[in-house]
C-alpha cells in the first residue's frame, strides 16, 4: 500500500516488519518514520493528543539517531503504555529535539502489531528526490 508518508516493504525480513519512510527534509523524515512505527502498532486516526513528551537525543550519526528515537517510542509503549500520533522533530546535526503527542493505552484503541525493538538491519537514511529511511522492526 502506497502512503505519502511511508510504505511497507513486503518481502524484507520475513518474520519482522519493514518500512520505507520519506520526507522533504530531515525533520519530516524523522517525523514520518515515527508515524510509520506508531501506525504499525495502533490505529492512529482516533488517538487523542492528551500527553506530550519531550525527547532530546544526541548520537554519532543520523542513522543511530533515528534508531534511538524510534527505540524511545517503543520504550514508552512498554513502560508507560503510551501511543503517539503526532510528532514534531528538529534535527540539528546529530542532535534531536522532539515533541510527541498521544495518549495512554485504553479500551477505545485499536491495537495492531506489538513491536519488540527497532533493528539496525538495513537501517539506512538516503537522499534521492527526497529524504528516505528504511527501517526493520522486530516483532
Amino acid at each position: 500500500m502506497i502512503n505519502v508518508r511511508y510504505e511497507y516493504l513486503e518481502d524484507v525480513a520475513t518474520a519482522d516488519i519493514a518500512f520505507k519512510a520519506q520526507g522533504d527534509n530531515m525533520n519530516e523524515l524523522f517525523e514520518n518514520a515515527a508515524f510509520a512505527l506508531s501506525e504499525t502498532m495502533v490505529e492512529t486516526e482516533n488517538l487523542k493528543e492528551v500527553i506530550v513528551k519531550n525527547i532530546n537525543l544526541e548520537e554519532t550519526d543520523l542513522e543511530q539517531l533515528l534508531f534511538l528515537f524510534l527505540s524511545e517510542i517503543v520504550y514508552l509503549k512498554d513502560v508507560d503504555l503510551l501511543f503517539f500520533s503526532r510528532f514534531e522533530v528538529k534535527i540539528d546535526g546529530c542532535k534531536l529535539a522532539a515533541k510527541i503527542y498521544g495518549e495512554k493505552l485504553n479500551g477505545n484503541m485499536n491495537l495492531k502489531t506489538d513491536i519488540k525493538a527497532i533493528t539496525m538491519h538495513m537501517l539506512k537514511i538516503f537522499k534521492k528526490d527526497k529524504y528516505y529511511a528504511t527501517v526493520v522492526l522486530d516483532v
Binding site: 518481502d11 520475513t14 516488519i17 503504555l81 533493528t119 539496525m120 539506512k124 538516503f126 534521492k128
Partner: protein, 492 residues
C-alpha cells in the same frame, strides 16, 4: 541505496556436501573467514529467501568464527544473523554479537506432559483456554501476576528458575529439566540499566506477542516415532495431552539488546571497524564491552527461564482449577526447557582437542547428544529433548539431540518450522477473525490478544515442518520422537 530483492537466487557457488548439507565457499564474498553451511533438503534450499545467503555469509566474516557459519533448515531472513543461524567463536580471538542472539534474549520453548487424554480434556477445553488466557496475560500492556521489588528482580537475574522454586512457583525437578539448570553463570546486575529494569519489572509471567504462544496439544496415535524415547520423556499413550510454551525475556531483554547494540556500534565506529550489517555489530568477547554485554545478556536469559517457570506455575494452577485435582495427580511434569536465542560458552572436541567456544544460536536450539554431562540423569542415555515449535495450525515436534550434532553443528539444530511469508503479506491475505473461526472448525480453539497478530501467524506463512524435521533426521543433527497437534491455543 536499498533495493528489495524479490528473486530467489541460490548462490551459484554453492556446493552440495550431501543431500541435506550445502556449503557456500569463502570465495562467495570478500571477507568470509570460513565457509557457510546450510542444512536443508533441496526443496527447502530452493525456497529460502535471498536474505539467508547474504546473512549467513556475513556471519562467516566475523572475527574468530570457527569451522563454519551455519543455517538450519527452518532458516529465513532475519536481522544480523539469519533466523536459524549458529556460529561458534574462539573466546580469545572471537567476538560476541547481539545480532547473533536477537532482541528477545533467551526466547525459548518449554514442554509439559500431563496424564490426561484428549477425551478427558475436550469437554473442558474452552474453559481451560479461557482461564489460561486470563492467568497468562499476553499482548501490549500485559502485567504478570508476579509482584516483585527491584531487588527481587535483581535476584531473579542471577538465580533464574531456582528463584521461582524457592519462592513456591515450581518443583525442584523443573530446574534440573531446564537448559543450564535455568541459570546461566556470569550474570551481573550492575551491567543492566535502570531503563531495562523498569521495562521488565512488571512483565514476569506474561507471554508477550508476535509468534509467542501457549498451546494445548495432543499426541496423535500414528505420530509416536520413537516409543522408547517418548516414554523416557513422559509421553506414553496416544492422545495424551501436553502443553507447549514459547516466549522469552520480554521487554527486559529487548531493552538490553537495544542498548548494547548502540554501544557496540559506537565502539566499532571509534575503532574504525567495518561490518557488513550494522545489526551484526560486535565486540571481542574478552573486551570490556563484550564481557559487559555477556553479563547483561545472562541476566536477561535468566529472567526468561524464570518467566517460563512462572507460566508453568500458572498452567498448573489453571489445570487444578478446571479439573479439580491436585496438579501432581495430573502429572504436569516439565519435559524440558530450551533456549533458542542465546550465546553461551560451551565445550566441544574439535580436531581431537576439547576447548571452549562462544556459541551463538539465533532461532536455533541446543541439541546435545547422549552422554553429555550437562543433561539431567534421566536424559543422559537418550540425549536432550529438543522442542520444535511449528505453526499454530499444523503442529510441532519433540525430537532428541544426537552425537552427530556435537560433531557437526556445535550441538545445534532447528527451532521451529520457519516462516516463508512476511508478516505484511500474511495480513493482506488472511483475516484474523475468519482464521479463528476456521481453526475452531478444524478442532483448534484459539484466543489471541490481537486479531491482526493472529492473521500474521497463519499456517500458510510457515514452511512445512515435516520437511524441516526430515532434514534434521537425514542429516542426523536430531531425531524425531513424536509429532504434536494443537487443540487449543493462546496467541500473544
Amino acid at each position: 541505496m536499498f533495493e528489495v530483492i524479490k528473486i530467489n537466487n541460490i548462490p551459484k557457488e554453492i556446493k552440495k556436501i550431501s543431500d541435506f548439507v550445502w556449503e557456500i565457499p569463502i570465495s562467495f564474498k570478500k571477507g568470509m573467514r570460513v565457509p557457510a553451511r546450510i542444512y536443508a533438503s533441496e526443496k527447502l534450499l530452493n525456497e529460502m529467501d535471498q536474505g539467508v545467503f547474504e546473512q549467513v555469509s556475513n556471519v562467516a566474516c566475523l572475527p574468530g568464527i570457527q569451522k563454519h557459519a551455519y543455517c538450519m533448515p527452518d532458516g529465513h531472513w532475519g536481522y544480523g544473523f539469519p533466523i536459524g543461524g549458529v556460529a561458534a567463536f574462539d573466546p580469545e580471538e572471537g567476538v560476541i554479537s547481539p545480532g547473533g542472539i536477537g532482541f528477545d534474549i533467551n526466547c525459548g520453548m518449554r514442554l509439559i506432559t500431563t496424564t490426561l487424554t484428549q477425551e478427558e480434556v475436550a469437554p473442558k477445553l474452552k474453559e481451560l483456554i479461557n482461564l489460561l488466557f486470563q492467568k497468562v496475560p499476553s499482548g501490549v500492556g500485559a502485567k504478570g501476576f508476579l509482584r516483585i521489588t527491584e531487588n527481587q528482580f535483581k535476584d531473579i537475574m542471577t538465580q533464574g528458575s531456582k528463584w521461582a522454586v524457592e519462592n513456591g512457583y515450581g518443583r525442584k525437578e523443573d530446574v534440573a529439566r531446564t537448559e543450564d539448570h535455568g541459570c546461566i553463570v556470569g550474570a551481573d546486575v550492575s551491567k543492566v540499566s535502570d531503563k531495562a529494569i523498569k521495562r521488565g519489572l512488571r512483565q514476569m509471567g506474561t507471554l508477550g506477542s508476535g509468534n509467542h504462544y501457549l498451546e494445548i496439544q495432543t499426541v496423535p496415535s500414528d505420530k509416536i516415532f520413537n516409543p522408547e524415547i517418548a516414554k523416557k520423556f513422559g509421553i506414553n499413550k496416544p492422545n495424551q495431552i501436553v502443553i507447549m510454551v514459547h516466549c522469552g525475556s520480554r521487554g527486559f531483554g529487548h531493552q538490553i539488546a537495544t542498548e548494547y547494540l548502540t554501544t557496540f556500534n559506537r565502539v566499532m565506529k571509534e575503532m574504525n571497524l567495518n561490518i557488513k550489517d550494522r545489526e551484526l555489530a560486535c565486540a571481542p568477547f574478552k573486551s570490556r564491552e563484550g564481557q559487559d554485554y555477556y553479563k547483561a545478556m545472562a541476566c536477561a536469559a535468566n529472567t526468561a527461564f524464570l518467566n517460563r517457570q512462572i507460566i508453568l506455575h500458572r498452567i498448573r494452577e489453571s489445570f487444578q482449577q478446571v479439573f479439580k485435582k491436585e496438579p501432581e495427580d495430573m502429572g504436569l511434569d516439565l519435559v524440558y526447557d530450551v533456549a533458542h536465542n542465546i550465546a553461551k560458552v560451551e565445550k566441544y572436541k574439535i580436531d581431537g582437542v576439547k576447548k571452549e567456544f562462544v556459541v551463538h544460536r539465533k532461532g536455533a536450539t541446543r541439541s546435545f547428544g547422549p552422554g553429555c554431562n550437562e543433561l539431567p540423569e534421566e536424559y543422559k542415555e537418550t540425549g536432550q529433548p529438543v522442542i520444535l515449535g511449528g505453526s499454530m495450525e499444523t503442529g510441532s515436534y519433540l525430537l532428541v539431540g544426537t552425537e552427530n550434532a556435537m560433531q557437526e553443528t556445535f550441538g545445534s539444530t532447528a527451532h521451529g518450522s520457519g516462516r516463508t511469508m512476511s508478516r505484511t503479506k500474511a495480513k493482506h491475505l488472511v483475516n484474523g477473525d475468519a482464521l479463528q473461526k476456521d481453526m475452531e472448525k478444524n478442532g483448534i480453539y484459539v484466543k489471541s490478544a490481537s486479531m491482526i497478530g493472529l492473521a500474521e501467524e497463519a499456517g500458510i506463512a510457515y514452511k512445512n515442518i515435516s520437511e524441516v524435521v526430515d532434514t534434521l533426521e537425514k542429516s542426523d543433527i536430531s531425531r524425531s520422537v513424536v509429532a504434536l497437534k494443537p487443540i487449543g491455543s493462546i496467541k500473544g
